[in-house]
């Protein structure tokens, strides 16, 4: 048990947790990694490709190695980083990517076969034979590559989303971020301070430097207490800013409940925030990078800064003797801190000849670590001294400090490129940042604590000044201000494998091989070797890979280039992006006025866009949908049926130019439509293709109500606004949707009038003379309720549509059913509606399918050439008016017992069924209970002149074909006697 003294953990409570089935104890404030290290567990996983034993390299979200599976059952979560997984009582974690046990991984054989797994191995090996891919190679690779697993059950947790607005978003709550937040917060600006950690303060919590007369962590604590008291400041812990999007929009993932065994009731597991901010300040700090050497991936080898974090913040160190390997002064800081904590320092191996001298520990100046030993964890390192001798140093821990990489990631999200800073031997933010962004502290390459504080405060003042807000930098405490000294060293040359990218198992050799094989662009190198393409996005490996590449090409690192970073900064689960839009809440649902009644009747519903419409109404004894639909159709045509048609778009059109406006948007004219009359309209797109159709009623000289199809209601309205605002901006026409203001029901069938007469107030004559086909008018029903009546028909029967204010829609439906009993009235759904319109030969969405013209639809004559209307000019194009143009006609099976399907293609009786012989296709097919056989509508070349011809309806998808006869599209009442009755 290696718990050191001190630390920011709560020793008064012990949390028990398990790893690979074994129980351990930790404390609040621990991460899974710190708790395991304090229990002397260094081995936490196996590597991706070679199944090498691995322990944590880092103490943060950049971790490539300590990747584990958390929780069980439906909440099982793969690929979690032990270094940021907050410990809770009962946490259950397992290592992943091992076959057998973590200590004896059967696939560790891959490590011995490593010569076969070099860069490009998969590309080269699994090319042939082709047939092996699906059955053998892919399953094998997938199994071997198993990075964790899921349980397969649906995620039981809820995910939320939200929208926040700020003047200044500060990303990172280390010294720079806290100084900025205090400065901006005290000035009264709307500030959001977000940090991915659960304990804010950044490296103030990991270092031992004092700020003024207090410790760094205490200073951070006091700053946070003040920020919490400011109503204009929102401090968001456990919140990662994952991306800088266009125009000052930032994505933020708040892990609301990840640190709990399970979320509290009604509380989200995570919340995905969209933050709109006028200014942002990136204070994301820097990530230390390793130095590659042979076998540099053994458990126990960590970044020096991570060793300090574990020792200072978490009081954890899984080694009695620790060696340090460094190319800068940070290594000595690590040695001092560990010594203070009582850890023995085996040696500090400093690659610089001018390494600082001390008598507190042994320093090997001008020396490098060349190799390491220890099967499941480090036992010793080999050191090549300045004089060329090799010495073995026994140690269980090695802290490697290769320099700091500023966390420039978010500065690249709008394609900004970082630039090289030779003093730091690192990339710092470039000149092009996302609009409104500034960078401060270590993220800007300012590595001292004092520099972080002052740059943070100054950046906040500047950002607010942009917004016209006066701010004064806070008084800063005296803080560490040592200059950073580094002599770059990225890898130690050697024969064995030296890891660059530990998560994707990419070594120095792989990069060299890629270069030998001609990959000279960094982007190609990355893809060929997969360097930096794991879930850590190469936070600890990219620069190392680049340095090796630069060495190979003989160019400098900045000339070699850099890959840029993309969102997300750290992985985000799909569930968080989805938020509440999952399952039945995937999108909202629109209910019709008769929905509650229909649900009580046991209606089967169908989704039509967002609407739920009754599809049919099963009755007792009916076992198939066809029985219900056939009954509804037959009863309607025999007597009367009622259908909710509220979903059709209704647009109120008013103004002195309303009639002219309709003239322009419809192909056929509306100017002479009389008040009290309804007309069918066909709307074209500007290219002459049919867009929508519907009926328009003239309620007054300057007042129309038009209808659209359910599906096109939104698009037609948008189109009309375009015409009104962009094409004819001075026309006096006003439009507004009234779709939902009126509950509208179709009442169709020979007894439709008789039924309506039961509810229409006696003052209104709806007889055939007073209220003929295509008439409309305001009436009252049921003793004085305002209603609109339209005599229009989609079914081909005598039919009306009656509309009442929506709140009375439910009651009206119940009343119609009640008074309809004496006529054996039925209520029918969308299926019966569809059958009847096919029987009548009315075009609908299947026919207005975005490829058909008025001519194709048999309505060529409706396109009025004496006026300007959208689409009329281009509908004259030659290609749309060929003699063999498709024409809407009807089809019936030659043998009435036969079936055919919509989508079937029409082929000549003796022709081969191929595209060259294609004569057209079927669009709508139904069984007609009135005719007793299948009927169809479809488009046939020159169809109008081919009635009586026999063709084959070929359905290659179902491998079926049927002999069909070309007939009129009007299967029922072609003369229209019924609807005029």
């Amino acid at each position: 048990m290696t718990r050191l003294s001190g630390g920011l953990i709560d020793r008064s409570q012990t949390l028990s947790f398990s790893f690979d089935g074994k129980s351990y104890g930790g404390h609040p404030g621990d991460t899974l990694a710190s708790a395991l290290l304090s229990n002397d567990v260094r081995l936490m996983g196996r590597s991706f490709k070679y199944h090498r034993p691995r322990g944590p390299l880092t103490a943060g979200s950049e971790e490539p190695n300590a990747i584990v599976e958390l929780r069980n059952g439906a909440r099982q979560e793969p690929n979690a980083r032990a270094t940021v997984a907050e410990l809770y009582d009962g946490l259950n974690a397992r290592s992943q990517n091992s076959v057998g046990s973590l200590r004896f991984d059967l696939l560790a054989v891959n490590d011995l076969l490593s010569p076969f797994f070099a860069a490009g191995f998969y590309y080269k090996t699994f090319m042939w034979p082709k047939a092996f891919w699906e059955k053998l190679y892919e399953p094998m690779i997938r199994r071997a590559a198993g990075l964790g697993s899921l349980d397969g059950q649906p995620d039981p947790d809820m995910y939320d989303k939200g929208f926040l607005h700020s003047d200044l978003l500060i990303i990172g709550a280390g010294p720079a971020g806290l100084a900025a937040a205090l400065t901006a917060g005290r000035a009264g600006a709307d500030v959001i301070l977000a940090d991915e950690d659960f304990l804010l303060g950044g490296r103030l919590n990991s270092e031992t430097h004092a700020l003024g007369d207090t410790s760094g962590s205490d200073w951070a604590k006091a700053a946070l207490a003040e920020l919490a008291s400011l109503p204009n400041v929102r401090v968001m812990s456990r919140t990662t800013i994952i991306g800088a999007m266009d125009h000052g929009i930032y994505g933020a993932l708040e892990r609301v409940s990840d640190h709990l065994r399970e979320p509290a009731p009604d509380t989200p597991r995570q919340t995905f925030w969209r933050i709109y901010t006028t200014r942002s300040l990136l204070c994301a700090g820097a990530t230390e990078r390793p130095i590659a050497f042979e076998n540099n991936d053994r458990p126990g080898i960590m970044l020096g800064s991570a060793l300090r974090s574990y020792a200072n913040r978490w009081a954890a160190c899984a080694a009695q003797d620790v060696a340090i390997f460094t190319n800068n002064d940070e290594g000595h800081r690590t040695a001092e801190d560990l010594l203070t904590k009582g850890v023995r320092i085996a040696a500090v191996i400093d690659s610089r000849a001018d390494a600082p001298k001390t008598n507190r520990y042994e320093v090997f100046a001008g020396s490098v670590v060349t190799n390491s030993a220890g099967r499941l964890g480090l036992t010793s390192v080999s050191v090549r001294l300045a004089n060329g001798e090799t010495r073995k140093v026994a140690c269980q821990g090695l802290g490697v400090s290769g320099g700091w990489n500023p966390n420039v990631h978010l500065t690249c999200h709008q394609r900004g490129r970082p630039q090289w800073n030779a003093d730091l031997a690192a990339f710092v933010p470039g000149g092009t940042l996302p609009p409104g962004m500034r960078v401060a502290g270590a993220a800007q390459g300012i590595l001292s604590t004092a520099g972080a504080l002052s740059s943070g405060a100054a950046a906040a003042v500047a950002a607010l000044s942009d917004l016209g807000i006066k701010a004064k930098a806070i008084t800063l405490p005296k803080a560490e201000d040592t200059p950073f000294r580094i002599t770059p060293l990225f890898h130690v040359p050697g024969k064995g494998r030296a890891w660059l990218d530990q998560q994707n198992d990419v070594t120095v050799k792989d990069v060299k091989l890629a270069h030998q094989e001609g990959y000279i662009s960094v982007e190609h190198l990355k893809r060929y070797t997969t360097l930096g393409m794991a879930t850590d996005q190469g936070k600890t490996s990219n620069i190392g890979g680049l340095a090796v590449m630069a060495e190979m090409t003989g160019k400098s690192i900045p000339d070699t280039g850099t890959t840029i970073y993309r969102p997300p900064y750290t992985p985000v689960s799909i569930a968080a992006f989805a938020g509440r839009s999952a399952g039945p809440d995937f999108r909202p649902t629109r209910l019709t006025p008769s929905h509650h009644w229909a649900a009580q009747q046991g209606a089967v519903f169908v989704e039509v866009g967002m609407w739920l419409r009754a599809q049919w109404f099963p009755q007792a004894g009916e076992t198939t949908w066809r029985q219900s639909v056939d009954r509804e159709v037959l009863a309607t045509r025999k007597s009367v049926g009622i259908c909710d048609v509220t979903t059709l778009g209704k647009i109120d059109v008013q103004g002195t130019d309303a009639a002219e406006f309709l003239n322009r948007i419809y192909a056929n004219p509306f100017g002479k439509l009389a008040v009290g009359k309804v007309r069918y309209g066909l709307m074209l797109r500007e290219d002459g293709i049919a867009m929508d159709d519907g009926t328009t009623a003239r309620l007054a000289e300057d007042h129309f109500v038009m209808t659209t199809t359910t599906a096109n209601a939104v698009g037609v309205y948008r189109h009309m606004e375009f015409c009104r605002q962009c094409l004819w901006p001075d026309m006096d026409v006003q439009i507004i949707s009234t779709t939902e203001a009126w509950a509208q029901y179709s009442v169709a069938g020979p007894n439709a009038r008789k039924l309506l007469q039961k509810i229409v107030d006696p003052a209104f004559d709806i007889g055939n003379d007073a209220f003929p086909y295509m008439g409309c008018g305001d009436i009252t029903v049921c003793g004085g309720l305002r209603a609109r009546l339209f005599r229009i028909s989609f079914s081909g029967e005598l039919a009306f549509e009656i509309a009442v204010p929506t709140r009375y829609g439910d009651a009206l439906m119940r009343r119609l059913v009640e008074v309809g009993q004496e006529f054996d009235a039925v209520v029918y759904g969308t299926e019966a509606l569809g059958v009847m319109r096919i029987e009548k030969g009315h075009a609908a969405g299947n026919e207005l399918n975005g490829t058909t013209t008025a001519l194709n639809l048999g309505m060529g004559g409706m396109v009025n050439k004496k006026k300007d209307s959208i689409g009329s000019t281009l509908s004259e194009r030659e290609g749309l008016n060929r003699p063999d143009a498709l024409c809407l006609v009807g089809f019936r099976p030659v043998n009435h017992a036969d079936n055919f399907a919509a989508g079937s293609h029409l082929i000549g009786k003796d022709d081969v069924a191929n595209a060259a012989n294609d004569q057209g296709y079927l669009t709508s097919v139904a069984y007609s209970p009135n005719l007793g056989h299948t009927i169809g509508l479809g488009f046939l070349k020159n169809g109008a002149n081919r009635k009586g011809e026999t063709l084959r309806a070929v359905n290659p998808v179902q491998n079926a074909e049927t002999l069909v006869e070309v007939v009129s599209a009007h299967f029922i009442d072609p003369e229209g006697d019924r609807l005029r009755a």
Binding site: H247, R718, E721, C726, M731, L874
Partner: protein, 95 residues
């Protein structure tokens, strides 16, 4: 993305739908000679600039205004937004 609505200030582009080049305002005269060709060019021929692009956006989930937004296609920077109705009038469109 954020669209700077001329009446309502900055608004999330989620509230908008996109149509395309502002030249869609320039609908030809149906009675002009060669009207079919003019309509063809109007409908199908567009510039595709790398740089400033004036384009039509509809504030569908907002005030139902059509806007002409000037956007740099290389950076997404938006440098202006006007009511399309006003733009149409300056282009000489009326009734």
């Amino acid at each position: 993305m954020i669209i700077p609505h001329p009446l309502l200030g900055p608004r999330d582009s989620q509230e908008f739908t996109y149509l395309g080049d502002v030249s869609l305002i320039d609908r030809p005269d149906w009675q002009a000679t060669g009207a079919v060709d003019q309509f063809h060019d109007y409908l199908y021929l567009r510039d595709n600039p790398a740089g400033l692009h004036r384009e039509l956006w509809f504030h569908e989930q907002g005030d139902r205004s059509w806007l002409v937004v000037t956007r740099d296609t290389r950076t997404h920077e938006i440098t202006g937004a006007e009511l399309a109705r006003d733009v149409a009038r300056t282009k000489g469109r009326s009734t």
